[in-house]
């Protein structure tokens, strides 16, 4: 993918002239209009893709931005200027929601950079049954996230697995309603999926580690470089692009994700215990049918995502040049 995004259009065109089969005559010899008519079939073939893209991406995007300035339910649209945004930024819950989100994003970034990488580094050093370990750590990804969240919800319950284990080891004082206690609810949600090895991140790290030429590692081994040193001096610098990419993707994902709070706590305990902006948006639709307000939250989230993507893109560019 990086190949197709990174190449300037001009370079693509040069390659295209020599490569593509249907361009019999030089494109300059005929007008654009004639070229378009001659290739009419190709546009027809692209049409289904673009109809869906317009209906479910471009139209909703523009409609969402426009309606964020309106009062919007299913029947009416009334222009209200910035008042949806004002309401969003004035609401005390918003601050708490962004704080919760920041904690989740921060924790998930640390998680992404450590345990899946550790798992991948361990598996890449295995000489026998490597495929077996790989399958073992992919299998849990296959289980739908909702099912995983559902099991963990049971573990956190008053009569759930954690309290049972605590009583079993003679620590009944530590038992609590993990998701009902403001002190533990947010961290309990972050803890879901421990030890966080099995995930797509693991697969990306593993692919990156296995792409390192074996000669490099063999040479280091001959020089007496230990496994740990090899990891920090050779492998880690070489997989830095993947690490940066995964950190970006993690930030973008948890900025908007709200499935776990929705299923486990519905934003509680209290009004803001585990509330996140995505869930505020969901509630604006689900509970209030205030689509204008929901659109404003969606637009704020979208703008934040665009800014973060641009910053990360620029950072990665300058890293590549350095």
């Amino acid at each position: 993918m990086s190949r197709s995004t990174g190449t300037p259009a001009a370079a693509l065109d040069d390659k295209a002239v020599s490569r593509y089969t249907l361009s019999h005559s030089s494109p300059r010899a005929e007008s654009t209009l004639r070229a378009m008519r001659r290739n009419a079939l190709l546009y027809v073939l692209l049409l289904p893709t673009f109809l869906f893209a317009i209906a479910f991406y471009y139209y909703p995007l523009l409609s969402g931005i426009y309606h964020s300035f309106t009062y919007w339910d299913i029947k009416r649209t009334v222009w209200v200027g910035l008042s949806n945004y004002e309401r969003f930024f004035r609401e005390p819950a918003t601050l708490a929601a962004w704080r919760n989100m920041a904690i989740i994003v921060g924790a998930e970034v640390v998680i992404t950079m450590t345990l899946p990488l550790l798992g991948a580094a361990l598996v890449s050093r295995i000489t026998h049954w490597q495929y077996g370990w790989r399958v073992a750590f992919v299998l849990p990804i296959v289980v739908p996230a909702t099912v995983v969240v559902f099991v963990w919800r049971w573990f956190y319950g008053i009569d759930g697995g954690f309290n049972y284990l605590l009583r079993l080891i003679g620590q009944p004082d530590l038992t609590r309603a993990w998701l009902g206690d403001p002190a533990t609810a947010l961290w309990s949600i972050i803890f879901v999926g421990f030890p966080w090895v099995a995930g797509i991140n693991f697969l990306i790290y593993l692919a990156a580690l296995q792409a390192i030429p074996t000669e490099i590692n063999d040479a280091a081994k001959v020089d007496g470089c230990g496994s740990l040193r090899r990891f920090f001096r050779i492998e880690l610098p070489l997989i830095r692009p993947q690490l940066l990419l995964l950190v970006t993707l993690t930030i973008i994902y948890y900025l908007r994700s709200f499935d776990a709070p929705l299923i486990m706590t519905n934003g509680g305990p209290g009004t803001t215990g585990t509330l996140v902006p995505g869930l505020q948006m969901y509630r604006a639709i689900r509970n209030e049918l205030d689509l204008g307000y929901g659109s404003a939250i969606g637009t704020v989230l979208f703008s934040t995502l665009v800014i973060i993507s641009l910053v990360s893109f620029t950072l990665r560019r300058s890293q590549e040049r350095a």
Binding site: M1, R3, S4, A9, L12, A16, T21, L22, S23, A35, M36, L42, L45, L46, P48, T49, F50, F56, Y57, L61, G64, H67, I74, G119, L122, R125, W129, V135, F137, P140, V142, V143, P144, A145, T146, V147, V148, F150, V151, F155, D159, P195, V197, I200, L203, A207, L249, F258, L262, I263, Y282, I285, R286, L291, G294, S295, G298, L301, F302, L305
Partner: protein
């Protein structure tokens, strides 16, 4: 004895590695194994010994859960297969056109698709919801199928790269033989890219099976709800015996686990390729 020490000396690292991985795998699988064991407990067994096995196993939990989960799982199978087939058919065709032909506006159109990769569906939740409601599609399977059909950007980008790298001679020979654009597509492009199409299809099925927020907005009613949604509704509103609720969780995950074991290599390839979408 000497032999044994020699072996340990040479393979000591590997033993440690396997040990560390075994520990990680154990911790990873505890919740899933617990789900399995809870799903065959009655309420008494569940309160006394929630962790570990209890006998007799109450397989009747599954009969109860199946009654509630059968239709939702069927909905998921229909939605996932229709949406995946349709979106992959459109995506493969578009990728073929983008990869093998030159026409005015091609690059601009391609970038218009590429940029969709960076628009997460979540931020479009509200307007898409309004669109579905205004077309009276909510609580029908179309409310799920149509938006999922639109998820083509990733497949187009991946397939375009793949098709671009195919040797030109294959297509040249076909052109000389007078094969039309669609014949080239059907007889050359599709057969050659089947493994890639398969990987992208499985990733798409996985995404659809994982979705929770969107179905919970537009497909709450019994005639359209999906498996993961039904799992939560079953447990939170139907209030069954907890064991049966757990059995419903197993049933919701089972089709994906079966798919994984049938198509293991393709599944892993699809997840890896799909990771960029996040």
């Amino acid at each position: 004895m000497h032999q044994r020490r020699h072996w340990l000396h040479r393979h000591g690292d590997q033993v440690v590695l396997h040990g560390a991985l075994a520990l990680l795998a154990f911790l990873t699988f505890v919740p899933l194994v617990t789900l399995l064991s809870l799903s065959v407990k009655d309420i008494y067994q569940l309160n006394v010994a929630p962790m570990g096995l209890t006998f007799p196993m109450r397989f009747e939990n599954y009969a109860l859960a199946w009654k509630f989960m059968r239709d939702p799982i069927l909905h998921n199978v229909i939605v996932a297969s229709v949406a995946t087939c349709a979106s992959l058919a459109m995506a493969t065709l578009s990728a073929f056109v983008f990869a093998r032909f030159r026409f005015p506006g091609r690059d601009g159109l391609f970038y218009a698709i590429l940029i969709l990769l960076f628009i997460p569906n979540t931020v479009l939740l509200v307007p898409t919801y309004q669109l579905i409601i205004s077309q009276n599609l909510h609580n029908t399977l179309w409310a799920l199928i149509l938006p999922y059909c639109a998820q083509q950007a990733l497949a187009i980008v991946v397939l375009r790269t793949f098709l671009q790298e195919l040797p030109e001679e294959m297509f040249d020979a076909a052109t000389v033989d007078g094969a039309s654009v669609l014949q080239q597509f059907r007889h050359i492009a599709v057969p050659l890219s089947l493994p890639v199409i398969g990987a992208m299809a499985i990733f798409q099925v996985w995404l659809i099976w994982n979705d929770y927020a969107w179905p919970s907005l537009v497909a709450n009613a019994p005639q359209a709800r999906t498996a993961t949604l039904a799992l939560i509704i079953f447990n939170d509103f139907a209030l069954p015996e907890p064991g049966a609720g757990m059995a419903a969780g197993v049933l919701a995950a089972l089709p994906m686990i079966l798919l994984f074991f049938i198509t293991m290599r393709t599944f892993i390839a699809g997840l890896t390729a799909g990771a960029v979408k996040g």
